[in-house]
Every structure is written in structure tokens, then in C-alpha cells.
């Protein structure tokens, strides 16, 4: 490990510790913003682990997130399982599923892959609802725990930290190197003897694992799971959009998307309570036109100027 890398790790650890102390300083309002932001940081960053290097835009976050929330709800409510058991099972189920999906979709390219993953969350929601309706029955998916907002925040922070660490680790491993080559030119990658299929599938599984884990952790925050809320296409889009706004070529890119995004969102909600959606839409458009390369692009341009 080089000293630069040790420095990065140390900096990361300081950031995590600083973030972990947030609940002691902030009131409920800022904590609720931070919790929502942390959820998106974990989701967007883990999304970018796969989609950044492969250039494949996956709209499957909602599917895995939904599995996490749904399994926790169903397990706790209908089978009297504990939260921790279900929070452990859910990401494993999602990982296996991601494996199967990954293998099935290897041949798909570009927009075909995008739309396939979009349909996925609807398919899973439909299948899960059908199974529950016909075979399992339901007393309503209640997730009643004693977790406070701070507990959920810390759990999400832990997940986000692990995501960052895995990203950092993958980047410096053979897998990361392989992925960068795949991203640049898959043909070349194959010729130099990289198993492109497995590299992609493994990363896709990672994304699925983390999304389901986040879904499971957020379930107690929602308290009552409605399938059409947790298997949300909107969530899949938002995660992608925040990551793209930030920039997916740096590990910390999505972070730079999520934080301004959450704050702008909040500012608009406060300023235009009666037409939040309209003004959010207009703001999106402004961002696309004014910040063409995402916040990372803007950030790097600015720092580049300063260095000069």
C-alpha cells in the first residue's frame, strides 16, 4: 500500500467518523435529511460501482431495494422473524437473484439492457404479490421496531462506508483493472484474456446486495411496506439521476450528486410547497443545461482553474 493510499483511507475514516457524529449535533429535521441523503449515497455509489466502469445503465435499484423492504416486512409481520435475521436473508436473496439476472442479460447492450432492468422491478413486484396473494397470505407488512432515526442513519452510514471501501478495493484490484478495460473496449478485454462475463456479473451482484441491504434497513423507517412504494420505478430513476448528476467516473462522484441534489430538492420543497413537482422538473432541466458534465465535471474544472 502506498502512502497516498494510506492517506486516502485515513481521510475516508475521518469523514465516516465525522458523519457518524452528526446525530449528536443536529435536530430531527437535519437528521431526517441526512438519513435520506445517506440512503441515496449508499444506493447511488453502489450503483456506480457497476455502471461506472461497464457503461451499462442499470435501472434495477428499485427491484433489489424492494426485495430488501419486502422480505423484512413479510418476515417480521407474517413469520414473526426478527429484523436482523431478515436483514441478513434479504441481501443474500437479492445477490442470488442478481447472479441469475446477470447471467441472463450478458448479451444485452446499451438501451436494451437499460429497459430490461427497468422491467425487472415490475416483474418481481408482480410475482411477489402474486405468490403472497395465493400461497402465503398477509396480515399487512408491518415493520415495527424500536429503532430511532439515528439508528437507521448509523446503519446506512455503515453500509455507505462499506460500499466506498469495496469501491476503493475493487479499483486497485485485478477486477477493477479488468473492468476498466472492459469499459473501454470489450473486444480488447476479451483478447487479453479477461473473463468479461464474470467480472460484470460479480459487480452486478454487489450492486444488488447493497441495494437490498439498504431496502432492508430503511424498512423500519417506513414502518409499513406497500409493494408499489418499495418496488418504485421512481427510486430506480432517482438513483441513476443523482449518480449521473455527480459523475460516475470517480468513486466519490455520486456523493457529489446526492448532496447538492438533496439540498436543492429541500430548498424547492420549502419555496414552492404547492407546486414542488413542477419546480423540481424545471430545476432538473437547468442543471442539465448549465452543468453539462455533472458536479464532478464542474468541480474538476474549478479545481483545475485554481491549480493553474
Amino acid at each position: 500500500m502506498t502512502s497516498a493510499e494510506t492517506g486516502k483511507l485515513a481521510l475516508g475514516a475521518v469523514c465516516v467518523l465525522a458523519a457518524a457524529s452528526a446525530p449528536f449535533f443536529s435536530d430531527g429535521y437535519w437528521l431526517s435529511i441526512a438519513t435520506t441523503a445517506m440512503m441515496y449515497i449508499a444506493l447511488s455509489t453502489s450503483w456506480a460501482l457497476f455502471s461506472g466502469p461497464t457503461h451499462l445503465i442499470a435501472l434495477s435499484t428499485g427491484a433489489f431495494f424492494g426485495i430488501g423492504g419486502y422480505l423484512v416486512g413479510s418476515g417480521m409481520s407474517d413469520y414473526d422473524q426478527g429484523f436482523w435475521t431478515m436483514a441478513l436473508i434479504a441481501p443474500l436473496v437479492a445477490t442470488v437473484l442478481a447472479l441469475l439476472i446477470g447471467l441472463a442479460t450478458l448479451r444485452l447492450k446499451g438501451v436494451y439492457f437499460v429497459i430490461f432492468t427497468l422491467g425487472l422491478s415490475e416483474m418481481i413486484r408482480n410475482l411477489v404479490s402474486w405468490v403472497q396473494n395465493n400461497f402465503l397470505g398477509s396480515r399487512g407488512l408491518y415493520v415495527l421496531t424500536d429503532f430511532t432515526e439515528a439508528h437507521i442513519y448509523w446503519m446506512l452510514l455503515t453500509v455507505a462506508a462499506v460500499v466506498f471501501f469495496s469501491g476503493w478495493w475493487v479499483n486497485r484490484s485485478r477486477l477493477g483493472f479488468a473492468l476498466r478495460i472492459i469499459g473501454n473496449d470489450e473486444e480488447v478485454a476479451r483478447h487479453v484474456g479477461i473473463n468479461t462475463a464474470w467480472s460484470k456479473v460479480i459487480l452486478f451482484m454487489t450492486t444488488g446486495f447493497f441495494a437490498a441491504l439498504v431496502g432492508a434497513i430503511v424498512a423500519p423507517r417506513y414502518s409499513y411496506i406497500e409493494p408499489n412504494v418499495v418496488f418504485s420505478p421512481q427510486l430506480s430513476f432517482l438513483v441513476v439521476i443523482m449518480a449521473l448528476l455527480g459523475g460516475v467516473h470517480r468513486l466519490w462522484g455520486p456523493l457529489l450528486g446526492v448532496i447538492p441534489f438533496t439540498l436543492i430538492w429541500e430548498a424547492i420543497t420549502i419555496s414552492f410547497p404547492a407546486s414542488t413537482t413542477l419546480f423540481l422538473g424545471l430545476t432538473f432541466l437547468l442543471i442539465v443545461y448549465l452543468i453539462p458534465n455533472g458536479f464532478v465535471g464542474a468541480f474538476e474544472t474549478v479545481t483545475g482553474r485554481i491549480r493553474k
Binding site: I57, E122, V240, L244, G281, L285, Y289
Partner: protein, 287 residues
Amino acid sequence: MDILISGLLLGGTYALMAMGLNLQYGVARIMNLANGEMLVLGGLAAFWLFTTAAVSPLLTAFVVAPLAFAGNWLIYRYLLLPLVRRAKSTGQLEVDSILATFGMSFALVGIMVSIHGEYFTYSYLADPFSILGSTVALNRFIAFLAAAAIGFALYYWLNHTYAGTAVRAVSVSTEAAGLVGINVDKVSAMAFALGGAVTAVGGTLISTFITLDASVGVIFTMKALIIMIMGGVGDIRGAVIAALILGLVETAVATIIDPGLTLASAYVIFLAVLLFRPQGLFGRRSS
């Protein structure tokens, strides 16, 4: 027989949802996430004119078409063309158009909510109509006829007119089309506007038998994307055939197996098609 007829009618509905998007993405290369909102806007026009002035939705469709054409032309010309010009690669354009049209979808939802926040529900031609011994809803049947008419008109126009040939040329390759003297920007704008008009008219017709509301657009966007991809990007036949297949499969599954599995079965078919033909039924192998 019931399955065949109901399935075809449902397929017609799906075709109305997807044909417009196929033009917009296939030719103008805009992944339009506001497609569903454009459809709902057409439905809102029908609802609003019907409940306030008792205007028949069929008449409204003729008002909606030119308005939607003009509106979408303006959107392309002033909001999307700058992105097309700026983009250095198709990937960049894809990302930019996803972000921009997602913003537009929010803006449109916001506007529609301020016009009518409740369900757009009214009753028009909800009468039984007997065809080959099977009872169907008259409004669905009319939507099917309209879908067929629009589909044939588009097909004829694309394949048998000069302007249509230019559109197809742009859909194959913008560079090559530019080299042979086609004004790519103009053709793309027209295709985008036409696609928007088709979608909005589809929404006007669909609103006679599906209860819409301002926020429901994303459901239609998803369905349209799936149909377009299943059929193959940039081929109007693909969209229509994929729509019919989905309609038939969903109806068959609902009738024979279990209505609870209809939507799931649609996705299974979609997956199966993509597994065997990763470029969709009629798609060209991407370069």
C-alpha cells in the same frame, strides 16, 4: 375467440402507447422519459373538454394532434437540439436526454396536477359491442381501429414517401443521412413532433377506458419502453407486433391461468424475446 379479440384490442392499446416513442427514440435518438406524461396530457384534454363542454374525445383527438405536434416540435427544437449538438457521443446524449426528459416529466406532472388533481374519470362509449360473437367495449374497439389506422399510415408514410425515406435514413445513420443531403435536424424534429402527437392522441383515446390521473404517466412510459425495445428500436412494425404479442399473451394468461400473473407474464415474454434476439424482434444489430 374471446382471448383473440380481447387480446388484439389490448394490443391496439399498447401500440398507441409505443408507436410514438419508437419514432422519438428510433429517429430523433431521444430516450423520452416524459412519454407517459405526454400520453396523460392527451387524456387530460379529453377529460377536460368532455366534462366541461361535452366535446367527444374523438373530436378532441383532432385538436390534440396538431397541438401536441407543435408542442413537441418546440420541445425538440429549443430544449433537446442543444443537447444533441453538445453531445460528443451517443452515450453522452443518452445520459443528457434521460436527465432532461426526466425533468420534463416532473414539470408536466406539476402542470397537470394544478389543472386537475383528481382522477380523470368519465364515461364515453362504454357500451357493449359484439364482434364475432365476443362482447367487447366499444371505446376499446374504436381505440383499436385508430391504432390500426395510425400504424398503417405511419408505415405507408415511412416506406412510400420521400419524406418517410428521409426519416428512415436518419434512423439508420445520422452521419450518412447528412452526407446525402438530408437535413438531419429538421427530420429529427419532425419525427420527434410526430411521435409526440401520436402518443398524445393515443392518450386521448385511452382515457375513454382507462382511468388516468396526473401522476400515472410513469407506468405508461415503462410499458412503452418495453414494447419499443421488444419490437426493436426504429421499426414501426416491431412496435406494433410486440404490442399485439403482449396484448394476446396477457389476455391468454389472464383467462386461462390467472389474472394475477398477467403483467408478470408480459415481462417473461419480454425477457424471452431479448434472450433470443438481443436487438429486439425487428431491430438491427447495433454497431
